[in-house]
Symmetry: C2
Subunit: 430 residues, 2 copies
Amino acid sequence: MTALDETHDPTASSWVDGADDHSEFPVQNLPLGIFSTGDGTRRGGVAIGDFVCDLGAVAPLLSGPAAEAATLASGATLNALFSRGNFAADALRTSLFGLFTDISSKAEVSRFLHRMTDCTLHLPFAIGDYTDFYTGIHHAENVGKQFRPDNPLLPNYKWVPIGYHGRASSIVPSGCDVIRPQGQQKNPDGDAPLFGPSKRLDYEMEMAVWTSGSNAMGQPIPIGEAGDHIAGLSILNDWSARDLQAWEYQPLGPFLAKNFNSTISPWVVTSAALAPFRIAQPARPEGDPAPLPYLSDAADQDHGAYAIEMEVLLSTAKMRAAGIEPHRLSKGPMSAMYWTAAQLIAHHTVNGCNLQPGDLLGTGTLSNETPDTFGSLLELSEGGKKAIELPGGETRTFLQDGDEIVMRAHAVREGRRTIGFGECRGRIVG
Amino acid sequence: MTALDETHDPTASSWVDGADDHSEFPVQNLPLGIFSTGDGTRRGGVAIGDFVCDLGAVAPLLSGPAAEAATLASGATLNALFSRGNFAADALRTSLFGLFTDISSKAEVSRFLHRMTDCTLHLPFAIGDYTDFYTGIHHAENVGKQFRPDNPLLPNYKWVPIGYHGRASSIVPSGCDVIRPQGQQKNPDGDAPLFGPSKRLDYEMEMAVWTSGSNAMGQPIPIGEAGDHIAGLSILNDWSARDLQAWEYQPLGPFLAKNFNSTISPWVVTSAALAPFRIAQPARPEGDPAPLPYLSDAADQDHGAYAIEMEVLLSTAKMRAAGIEPHRLSKGPMSAMYWTAAQLIAHHTVNGCNLQPGDLLGTGTLSNETPDTFGSLLELSEGGKKAIELPGGETRTFLQDGDEIVMRAHAVREGRRTIGFGECRGRIVG
């Protein structure tokens, strides 16, 4: 884990407009992403206050590993930067912190700041492979109950960090519309499936881990080193068509129910920025098995979880037309993960599978125990049986055309400066 | 479908050494791939007889679209070439056929031929996403019977082309060793899973479709256009750890049981080369449902299947030491696919999922009805219960260290010149 240093000082202040007031991007955060401005050229940037700083442009003001890192980040993706592991990005962060806190840098650095509202934000990485896990044990129980009331969790759940491969090509950055998928749906009492637009379109509130560095095929990443392969985190909305999913998923898992679209927040909140928010993994309930040795690490149990608060907001077309604020569907901590991010990486590679920089690992839906924390409509509506009441008089069981979901997340801990992830936003279109 | 022309003439002859005698790479084939020689630079090539012709080097001898295609294929992957759909590759094939059949070209073209034994063959594409289907209905029945003797096929099988996402990063070209994966295994009578090297390591004989062109997110590829997105075929060995698979796969499908390694044959046998081998899709058995409209196309039913013969050979370390020839485990036609390649593409995109050039679609294991055609040891050994006898006195239920699997395939049809796919070879190491 990254040691805390001056870059984590909660009292540190920046000369960049908005940084000190900002719950998302104060100088303690400095998340990395890919942006473009008028000419459309994609390049690396860092978010600070209300601005994006162009990394390639600022590179000449830096020296040593930080300058090299900024140059590596000057292209259209962050893959090259994180091919070095986290070392280069960490050096960059430390130097940028110096620039943004030193008023004497203001004149020369300001030239490379772009107002964020003038920027288009893109995917931070060319995603080689996307894996989605299922670490949210309350989500797994809530969904399992709908199919198996007496035995919601399958026997492997507490032994195996359950995961499956997702589609990389259809991951889009926040703000892209989501086209309602068509597909086969089977009514329980029908003889044959029907075909048409999904009627049970849902979101899933997840966090996602970006990987850094790599491992050769056949060379597992030990649990004690797995944390070093976490480049950072973003918010992931794993849109899901529940009717397609129910009919297609046996025996090989979800496919068209998921791969039409997944939305990711565009900023990579780095491991270094998240260091002050690492907390102990919640103890396993009495009677649960201990993880197998390849998943066991005392240090990881001690600080492998994150103090992150997530929330999901819905606005409908009618609400927006009436000037009604988005309605919060849920809010809860990220602590519902039965496995830590390091355990996911150790598990993913224990068979020799090779990870590459910029792979994306979804946590799975992170519901907590009470309904106000549930991370999907499937859970909130109890499988579509219970309508959710919205301000303005509408109700929802699943998403309708025009509905917009916004997910937000903040790392929050007493004595630390809160940092944010930016938005993960998507609107359903028919 | 590509119309037949002079490039399919079974009597056509080439001046290139070995081409006329070759069951793999006569001038009627001209498969594309990526190769390197002494200096290690990866570049596009075409197989002809015992040679690989360097496409970038030969480009100046071509003109128009063929010259442009050869230049597009001069880099380290074929993605750029097939980003144009099949048009560019088709033009290239026609021109190359002209060069290789015209003796007056021999002097200038020979300079660009490399003896295949001097070449290293690489992955033909940077694979964006890999999807594995489950079209082999006899395989699905054979495997299903081991779990559900009375009801081997699930209710969705004859409606939905079942598929799931696989891992792209661990796909390797023929000839790479396969490191036996470790993982969790659960004995039926055990309380807890065990951990260690897989004891039930298997191969799966599949064919694979490379995609060409692309579709925008939200824009399905209609069944009538899907065939135009087939760049060509290769052989795929979807190595599988059956013990890991049995314990991990519910509810989200196979993961570590598959993603440690998949082997692909390095040559893309193009749609144009396969045109003479397109045959009618076998009629569905009486009582099976008709495909839904988005999967229905009379022309596709009329010629959507392939006249391809596949075989699997095993040699053990002991057999090789004793000079015993590889033992054929199975041989059978590719006709066991319940869905055509075009149906897979139409299904994959019907929800709006975007395909990109160089995506890989596995057919799933293609067993036929009789054991001499079964495409996996799981089927041949009846789940490990029946030992397979090998020449030299050894037996196998699953693969042991040192075992080498070679898969071969040929397009064969009366009145046509047989063409081959090259090898898909891999050896297990502990």
